[in-house]
């Protein structure tokens, strides 16, 4: 994929992000931060690639360390978001 195609995806995703985030209710801004934090750990993909390949031992260990860090974030981020969202209740009248 050439640079321009990737850039196009990126720019369009920025616009999608802009409109989607403005539609998030302010009451949920803290869960928003927690969940964006969890999904930005998709960087684990890069860490997995690095740790899976045998080319360089250093790169492998860096990759594995990256996998650990990103996993903390993924599990922690989604779990804490779930915990917070479960608290938002409407009282039955």
């Amino acid at each position: 994929m050439d640079f321009i195609s990737i850039l196009s995806i990126f720019v369009l995703a920025c616009f999608v992000g802009y409109y989607v985030v403005w539609s998030v209710t302010p009451a949920l801004h803290t869960p928003l931060m927690a969940v964006t934090n969890a999904i930005s750990s998709v960087i684990i993909v890069g860490a997995l690639v690095a740790s899976a390949e045998a080319g360089s031992a250093t790169a492998k260990w860096l990759g594995l360390a990256g996998v650990v860090l990103a996993s903390v974030n993924i599990f922690g981020g989604f779990a804490v978001t779930e915990r917070m969202l479960a608290m938002y209740k409407k009282k039955e009248k």
Binding site: T30, P31, A59, S71, M87
Partner: protein
């Protein structure tokens, strides 16, 4: 060895670019695309060279799931489904990566994920809701560090990421992306560590101002840009010192950028670091040509940027002035600072407050961070329940900068079981103060200060505030008359005729009011 990304891109390339030379689909011919600045098409591995557009599709679906995850947060009723979408997206991305690579050491990877998972899960279970800001800051630092590690791994083992050129070097574009990814990641890491230390009280929240800090900061930033440029253009053999210097400079600038920023501006900082962690992921996505990472990075980046903007607007501060730092340290003499003469105020007891609350028809509660510090949210909800039993209408008004991060107060009230349809934002409820009988201020201060509307010399001038002075009666719970808000300014609300000061610990005071209400 060819990462399967290469295969995907070749496939897409072949479909999208038929006019290209005939080698587009041939994984064995790595020379076909380089002239066009293609990435990731290198070091073809015959075993995996077979093109698989499904992989690209899988990453795209993961990206769409992440968009839906954020979309779900537009309303509390859809939010949990949104979070599930996020999990599904992450699962798709991870499984796709594992399936499409020669994973020689699945056990090690499994252990790494399990280890991280246990740590993350335990933290998420145990963390107190009041500590959310520092938790989020800590999590940001992990994303930043992971980005640095991935960037370095890509530098050391470029073949695995498919970013080698025919000459055996990493392409200049890839190096710029890699350099930027490492730099942003490192800034996110060290900045978040400082933010975490400040938020958790391990470090003083007051700004630390180095002499000539603007010069140092701009110099370091310029150095990072120059180093990135050099890193991209240098001969392959000479890049190691450059990338080391780049990484170190970025770690330093992250640290320098955050230490001069005071506690009051932390909501902006946390949002800003949120944004950085997204851009770091996006930069890595560019290096890997991975759509899931690019989409996610862009989403998170814009999310953090918008939250920073909302926070700045709520404090009437420009983003630049927040970044320049030093709020609350210098020129705090403005407003009523030095002219704090002893003015008369009325003090009341819990019984008085309870009596008047019972008589009221409509009560608006304005919680601030002081409520969270005193852990008074549960007692407060109980008070709301007791009042509603008496037929009093109770609403909660939340200022965007109440608490230490965007939406923090909403979470704390939700934790205390306050129904979310009783909680309102500033602009939705501000017109109702004129019709309310009691404005009940608990642990908030600057957000109700009328000086923001009237006193041009005040440091908080221009900040949107609640019009509590329009309420018939104001109850102001405060520990003592000595303390001032974050901004360090006196508050005229204390001395208004209709104000009754309830000087005590917030939790104790509300509990006493509850007792009096029960009688």
């Amino acid at each position: 060895m060819l990462s399967n990304f290469s295969g995907i891109f070749m496939a897409l390339q072949a479909c999208a670019d038929i006019t290209n030379d005939g080698g587009a689909c041939d994984p064995g011919n790595p020379n076909s695309h380089f002239a066009l600045g293609m990435r990731a098409l290198e070091a073809a591995d015959p075993a995996h060279g077979a093109v698989n557009p499904w992989v690209a599709l899988a990453y795209l679906i993961a990206g769409v799931c992440f968009i839906l995850a954020l979309r779900g947060l537009s309303h509390p009723t859809t939010s949990r489904a949104g979070n599930r979408y996020g999990m599904v997206g992450m699962l798709i991305a991870v499984v796709t990566t594992l399936v499409t690579h020669d994973v020689a050491n699945i056990v090690e990877i499994g252990i790494a994920i399990l280890l991280g998972g246990i740590i993350g899960f335990t933290i998420a279970r145990r963390i107190a809701m009041t500590a959310m800001p520092e938790l989020v800051a800590a999590f940001h630092s992990l994303v930043g560090l992971a980005a640095v590690l991935v960037g370095w791994a890509a530098y050391l083992n470029p073949g695995a990421f498919g970013i080698l050129e025919a000459s055996g070097d990493i392409s200049a574009v890839s190096r710029i992306e890699m350099g930027l990814g490492i730099a942003i990641g490192a800034i996110t890491f060290s900045g978040s560590v400082i933010a975490f230390a400040k938020l958790s009280g391990k470090m003083s929240g007051s700004p630390i101002l180095l002499p000539g800090r603007h010069v140092i900061n701009l110099g370091t930033l310029a150095a990072i840009i120059v180093l990135t440029g050099l890193f991209a253009t240098a001969a392959a053999s000479g890049t190691m010192p450059l990338i080391v210097a780049l990484t170190i400079a970025a770690f330093i600038i992250g640290f320098l950028l955050i230490i001069p920023i005071g506690g009051a501006d932390m909501p902006v900082v946390v949002s800003m670091l949120n944004s950085y962690s997204g851009w770091a992921a996006a930069a890595m996505g560019f290096t890997l040509g991975n759509t899931a990472m690019i989409i996610t990075g862009a989403l998170v980046g814009s999310s953090g940027a918008i939250l920073s903007y909302i926070m700045c607007r709520a404090m009437n501060r420009s983003f630049l002035s927040v970044i320049a730092g030093g709020f609350g340290a210098d020129d705090s003499a403005g407003g009523g600072g030095e002219a704090r003469e002893q003015r008369p105020y009325k003090q009341g007891s819990a019984e008085d407050a309870a009596f008047m609350l019972k008589q009221a028809e409509k009560v608006i509660v304005i919680p601030g961070y002081g409520m969270a510090v005193a852990q008074a949210q549960h007692a407060l909800r109980e008070m709301g329940d007791l009042l509603e039993e008496q037929g009093v209408e109770v609403k909660y008004a939340i200022h965007p900068v109440a608490g230490r991060m965007p939406g923090h107060m909403n979470v704390l009230l939700a934790e205390a079981n306050v129904s979310y349809d009783k909680v309102f934002e500033l602009e939705d409820i501000n017109s109702e103060f004129a019709q309310c009988d009691v404005a009940f201020i608990i642990g908030a201060n600057d957000v109700v200060n009328p000086a923001a509307k009237t006193d041009k010399s005040s440091p908080i001038y221009g900040m949107p505030v609640f019009d509590v002075d329009k309420a018939k009666q104001v109850f102001f719970i405060k520990r003592s008359m000595g303390g001032v808000g974050y901004a360090g300014v006196d508050n005229d609300v204390f001395y208004m005729d209709q104000t009754m000061m309830l000087l005590s610990d917030a939790k104790k005071m509300v509990e006493e009011i509850n007792k009096a209400l029960g009688d």
